[in-house]
């Protein structure tokens, strides 16, 4: 009963829900919050149809802990929330990172901080997605810019989380969650589904001994592995071990398993970048007015292009380093007071001018605003 291939007219929220089911998600635990409640509502209706379970927990902490538990129980699992709930989930995101639990967390960004404007768009949680929990850890964060991408990237989110045993954040925004667009659902054989690797043999199995890809196989429960999972610093057996050297090797591996696979993880879309000397950098729904602005600028003979970040974390440092020599000015358009722009600056150094075009929240940049700055900077 998961979706038949074909064309659908979905909102971003709906697309994520349906893609999750196709990716194999069979458990959703969540707590209502604008602007993503419809995602949970669809899951509540759809999960029983595919043999899965929906549970509304008492809060967001309970929600994410329940999906972490379910993931260890063998189910692909997700939750969805927005700023206030995402903030509450931070402790548990660190726990999932530390225990290498595959989960998908959809965070639909609204205008913050605090309660802010619940029904209006924001992009203020980009840094939080990477840094919101304590201690050094890595996650993956993907940012779709159309309903089709909501769909595709949800499947990718599950795949990456299973492959790297890491929490994957689907960093949506309010505009997308409530935007309806056409979605093409691929056929079963076009669909790529990745599942976590299982231990090859039980004897001498060390639950936290990684393979060459730095990812350890994940043992199933109830089959006699007798493994222990802990958020304390642990050795390869999974036993707590309070020793700076154990910490050094565990934490380095947890981070490196993502950092060393940047090339596999990072996806970037570019538009008219071949001959561009000025570029807009955007992500999420801001990509849409940006495309329009690039088109308008080209009509005015401005050689502008667009860099649309589909993967935000790990940050595509190398991409920016490489491209920076060809570009005079990067304009980072984001609905916050400067987050991705810091990363771009760090990656590029002094090799090009980097400008921030911020919005505090509540509205997208208009194509005209973007065109204005392109025109101003192009000359």
């Amino acid at each position: 009963m998961s979706l038949e291939p074909g064309t659908y007219f979905f909102s971003g929220n709906e697309a994520v829900a349906e893609a999750a089911l196709l990716a194999g998600c069979r458990f959703f635990a969540g707590y209502p919050i604008t602007p993503t409640s419809e995602l949970a509502e669809r899951m509540a209706r759809r999960l029983p149809q595919v043999g899965g379970v929906f549970i509304q927990m008492e809060d967001e902490i309970g929600s994410i802990m329940a999906i972490i538990g379910a993931s260890w129980g063998g189910l692909k699992a997700m939750t969805a929330t927005s700023g206030p709930g995402f903030s509450l989930m931070q402790e548990s995101i660190g726990f999932a990172a530390m225990t290498e639990t595959p989960i998908v967390v959809c965070n639909v960004q609204r205008a913050g901080p605090s309660t802010g404007m619940p029904t209006y768009v924001g992009q203020g949680d980009v840094m939080q997605a990477k840094w919101g929990s304590h201690g050094p850890y890595e996650i993956i964060a993907l940012s779709p810019s159309s309903v089709q991408e909501c769909f595709d990237m949800t499947i990718r989110a599950f795949n990456l989380s299973e492959k790297y045993r890491v929490p994957v954040i689907l960093l949506m925004d309010e505009r997308l969650s409530h935007l309806y667009e056409k979605v093409r659902v691929p056929s079963k054989n076009e669909l790529i589904i990745i599942n976590r690797k299982k231990p090859r043999e039980k004897k001498g199995f060390l639950p936290y001994k990684a393979d060459d890809d730095l990812v350890p196989p994940m043992p199933p429960v109830g089959e006699g592995y007798h493994f222990h999972v802990t958020g304390l610093t642990h050795d390869e057996r999974g036993y707590p071990h309070m020793d700076p050297e154990v910490q050094e090797s565990l934490i380095r591996r947890l981070n490196d398993k993502i950092r060393k696979h940047v090339d596999d993880i990072v996806e970037i879309d570019t538009f008219m970048m071949d001959d561009a000397d000025i570029a807009i950098v955007a992500f999420g729904s801001v990509v849409r007015p940006s495309i329009r602005a690039i088109k308008l600028s080209r009509e005015r003979n401005i050689r502008a292009g667009l860099i649309a970040l589909k993967t935000i974390w790990p940050f595509p440092d190398k991409f920016f380093e490489d491209i920076s020599s060809r570009i005079n000015t990067f304009i980072v358009a984001e609905i916050n007071y400067g987050q991705v722009v810091r990363e771009v600056k760090r990656a590029i150094g002094d090799k090009a001018k980097v400008l921030l075009l911020p919005k505090m929240g509540g509205a997208l940049h208009t194509p005209e605003e973007l065109l204005d700055i392109l025109m101003r900077e192009a000359k």
């Binding site: 008492e58 309970g62 379910a70």
Partner: protein, 283 residues
């Protein structure tokens, strides 16, 4: 016949013996409770491979790490929601939550009452040592009025929770309370509870000589066990308004609630799958 010195213990098969000795202080009650748990497991005839144990953070939270089973040491206060997800994923397994009072009813109190309300199918062993052991003996929601702790140097001005009453009010189907001295009854109670379903709570009053006892005139484990011996009264089906723990009153122990037929969350959730799909699960 003199004492037989040996290398292995009868319960060793359940334990990660390479991790012994455990970190618990000499005279701590957690080891006895763990011991009773294993006896209960045996009595109930539960296959350890069909059992998942989840702990939170705290001295008691370390229980999971010593069991030679699939076990989970989660975050502080969140053992129950983790266990909820785990149980839903594997409704065929027994899921036990084994953790401290601070973990389960102070920071984790909300998950506790909601899981009881929903009747999530979990057996919860709550070790109530009347304070926060792991962090050095601060007051908890279970510390009796007037008791001295590191954060109540002038005596506790708060009242403590009456945990059985709270659990019952929230909807728990099995509620019992024992102490770390009443290990045999505890083991029987655990065995019985394994054969119930839904949200089951067994509170075990335990001694923490190191941080609680020391400040309350019972510096050794033995002092506290004697206190339990002399200050408990078994009263099955007691009126739960009378079961709060006070320093100068008898502690009521016993089995208070035992409801057998309330459907669990998991039964209903998978029942919904069948209803909606019109087929049995797995088909």
């Amino acid at each position: 016949m003199p004492m037989q010195f040996v290398k292995y213990h009868v319960r060793d098969k359940y334990l990660k013996t390479d991790r012994l000795p455990h970190i618990w202080c000499p005279g701590c009650g957690i080891g006895s409770i763990l011991n009773a748990f294993l006896l209960g497991l045996e009595k109930a005839n539960i296959d350890p491979d069909k059992l998942l144990v989840v702990s939170g953070i705290g001295c008691t939270g370390r229980v999971a790490g010593y069991l030679n089973m699939d076990t989970f040491h989660t975050t502080h206060g969140r053992a129950i929601p983790f266990a909820i997800g785990l149980k839903i994923a594997r409704p065929d397994m027994h899921v036990v939550v084994f953790s401290g009072d601070g973990d389960l009813v102070t920071i984790g109190g909300n998950h506790f009452i909601h899981a009881a309300r929903r009747n999530n199918d979990l057996l919860v062993i709550l070790v109530n040592n009347l304070n926060y052991g792991m962090t050095g003996g601060q007051v908890g929601a279970t510390t009796p009025h007037n008791a001295i702790t590191t954060t109540t140097p002038y005596g506790n001005i708060e009242d403590d929770f009456n945990i059985p009453f709270l659990a019952a009010a929230a909807g728990a189907v099995y509620v019992a309370r024992w102490t770390s001295l009443h290990v045999r009854r505890l083991a029987w109670s655990i065995a019985e509870a394994f054969h119930r379903k839904g949200f089951r709570l067994i509170e075990v009053i335990s001694q923490c000589p190191t941080t609680f006892g020391r400040r309350n005139k019972m510096p050794n484990g033995l002092d506290m066990l004697k206190w339990f011996r002399d200050n408990t009264i078994v009263k099955h089906n007691a009126d739960l308004r009378e079961t709060r723990i006070e320093l100068n009153r008898k502690i009521v122990i016993g089995k208070f609630i035992d409801i057998k037929d309330k459907p669990t969350f998991e039964e209903q959730a998978y029942g919904l799958v069948e209803k909606v799909r019109g087929v049995k699960r797995g088909e």
